[in-house]
């Protein structure tokens, strides 16, 4: 059976050039970059190179990059680290209803610590209202955390406008760009961002490595203490192979943005149009224009999402319902819920996340098998027969 992977928002395969660059750092150049001897010095240059590559991707200085272990760490460090550091200045944080749980739950943690959190609502396309954002800012506001691209729907927030509002009110601005980086241009200077999270495994680097951009002058309270690594902002022996891989993936991502905008967007649109024309009573979730080029979130009336996924899986097609993190927890997606999608449509949403390896044949295969799957499940559903009867 041919296997078609369309879950690139959950994670991606490591790219060949990335893995190749990593391999020498497991057994030959295995030193600790903090060591002064040959074994350490051989690798500290590699960490520097990777730092420059990551910085180049997002248009910042290498010293503004902190290497982390994942997107969740980056978000926790940015949000908790900023809040604690700025505590004397204020205790109010603004975020949005559709953030990744790593952001929302970091904010919930801070609520227990005495912070007040404003969670901005979104409209039916998952978009926030900038006027509402600006109105929420008060004297005590120390941080705005609003994501670049949504992991479930792909909706892109107007980051530059948010940055301008934050700057105007002198409030720190963090953005979770875990889904955006490598898919759309991410320029921290142009967007006026103070902190930005990325995670390697979402764009061809390995799992276990990420980075946080921290604009010069932005103090942070640490999460990990001790070692002097990362200019005393993140202790722990460097994950050298992972960091090297992240650097190469960033370099490739810069070069590949055109592919995302071109070939991958075309595939996604072909899939979207194909489903809309073949299957009745479906609904695309997310913003029509401002959307990650690789992402399609779509709901099928009368049936439930996991059942669709299982049938796709049996045909070799990997997709997801909402975020991968949700897949073994109950309940509907908080993102789809916040968009006001009705419960049954929310329960049937499927996310296709296209990637570099996907072809037109892959899309056409999905278009071939999906109508049958949907019909089979609808034929089992009491809602469908009731609707047909009415």
């Amino acid at each position: 059976m041919k296997r078609i992977y369309m879950d690139n928002n959950a994670t991606t395969a490591v790219r060949p050039a990335v893995l190749e660059a990593m391999l020498p750092f497991y057994q030959e150049q295995f030193g600790n970059p903090s060591s002064i001897h040959w074994a350490g010095q051989a690798v500290s240059g590699a960490v520097d190179t990777a730092r420059a590559q990551v910085a180049a991707l997002m248009n910042c200085q290498p010293e503004e990059i902190i290497f982390t272990s994942c997107g969740s760490e980056g978000n926790a460090l940015a949000i908790k680290g900023s809040a604690e550091f700025l505590r004397a200045k204020g205790n109010h944080i603004i975020t949005t209803a559709v953030e990744h749980p790593a952001v929302l739950d970091s904010c919930k943690y801070l609520e227990k610590q005495g912070f007040e959190v404003t969670v901005l609502a979104v409209d039916g396309e998952g978009m926030i209202d900038l006027a509402e954002l600006e109105a929420a800012i008060c004297e005590r506001t120390v941080l705005i955390s609003a994501m670049w691209g949504n992991n479930e729907t792909g909706t892109l927030f107007p980051v530059a406008e948010i940055g301008a509002i934050a700057r105007k009110h002198k409030v720190r601005f963090h953005t979770d760009a875990v889904q955006a980086v490598g898919r759309v241009p991410v320029d921290v200077r142009a967007a006026g961002v103070d902190l930005l999270t990325i995670s390697g495994h979402k764009f061809g680097a390995p799992k276990g490595v990420g980075a946080l951009y921290v604009r010069k002058g932005m103090g942070l309270t640490q999460l990990f203490h001790g070692g002097h690594q990362e200019r005393n902002r993140r202790a722990g022996t460097h994950n050298v192979p992972g960091i090297v891989g992240l650097g190469v993936a960033c370099e490739l991502a810069v070069a590949d943005l055109a592919v995302q905008e071109g070939r991958i967007r075309a595939l996604r649109d072909r899939l979207e149009q194909g489903i809309l024309s073949r299957i009745p009573e479906v609904q695309v979730n997310g913003h029509r224009q401002q959307r990650l080029p690789n992402t399609l979130n779509i709901s099928f009336a009368y049936i439930e999402g996991e059942a669709i996924l299982l049938f796709l899986d049996m045909k070799g097609v990997a997709a997801s319902s909402g975020s991968a993190c949700m897949s073994d927890s109950f309940g509907q997606s908080h993102v789809i819920g916040a968009m006001g999608v009705d419960a049954m449509m929310a329960n049937s949403n499927i996310r296709f996340g296209l990637g570099l390896d996907n072809t037109e044949e892959d899309v056409d295969f999905v278009l071939e098998i999906l109508p049958e799957i949907i019909q089979k499940l609808r034929d089992m559903s009491p809602f469908y027969s009731e609707r047909a009867a009415s």
Binding site: L310, N347, S381
Partner: protein, 122 residues
């Protein structure tokens, strides 16, 4: 994640459908996940002669419905009333922890249908 039996019953669910002139009809909606199951019974001499179901839900819910139908067709109403949700899950060689509640639909909807039948027949 799922046992082979779950996959089998999910892929080829037995006894899907409606019985238009059913002797009893039952229904159960999960409060936790919104899954919903409808059960239609044909009863002859206190024995379940036929059973059809409709299910809106995940793989575990559909497989549980199908397995339940196999377990009780041909059984007496008393035997059917003794069927527990756990027994359905067990017959499927188990379900993943977070999916256990999905098997609850099946026995509950069945019992609801039997009550509906008995209520009408009483």
């Amino acid at each position: 994640m799922y046992s082979d039996k779950v996959i089998d019953h999910f892929t080829n669910p037995r006894n899907v459908g409606v019985i238009v002139d059913a002797d009893g009809v039952g229904e159960k909606v999960s409060s936790s996940c919104g899954d919903r199951m409808k059960v239609f019974l044909k009863v002859v001499d206190g024995v379940i002669e036929d059973l059809k179901f409709q299910t809106y839900g995940c793989g575990a819910a559909i497989a549980s419905s199908s397995m339940m139908s196999e377990l009780v067709i041909g059984k007496t109403l008393d035997e059917a009333l003794a069927l527990t949700n756990d027994a359905v899950a067990e017959a499927l060689d188990g379900l993943p922890d977070p999916k256990l509640h999905c098997s609850n639909l099946a026995a509950d909807a069945l019992h609801d249908a039997i009550k509906n039948y008995q209520g009408e027949g009483a």
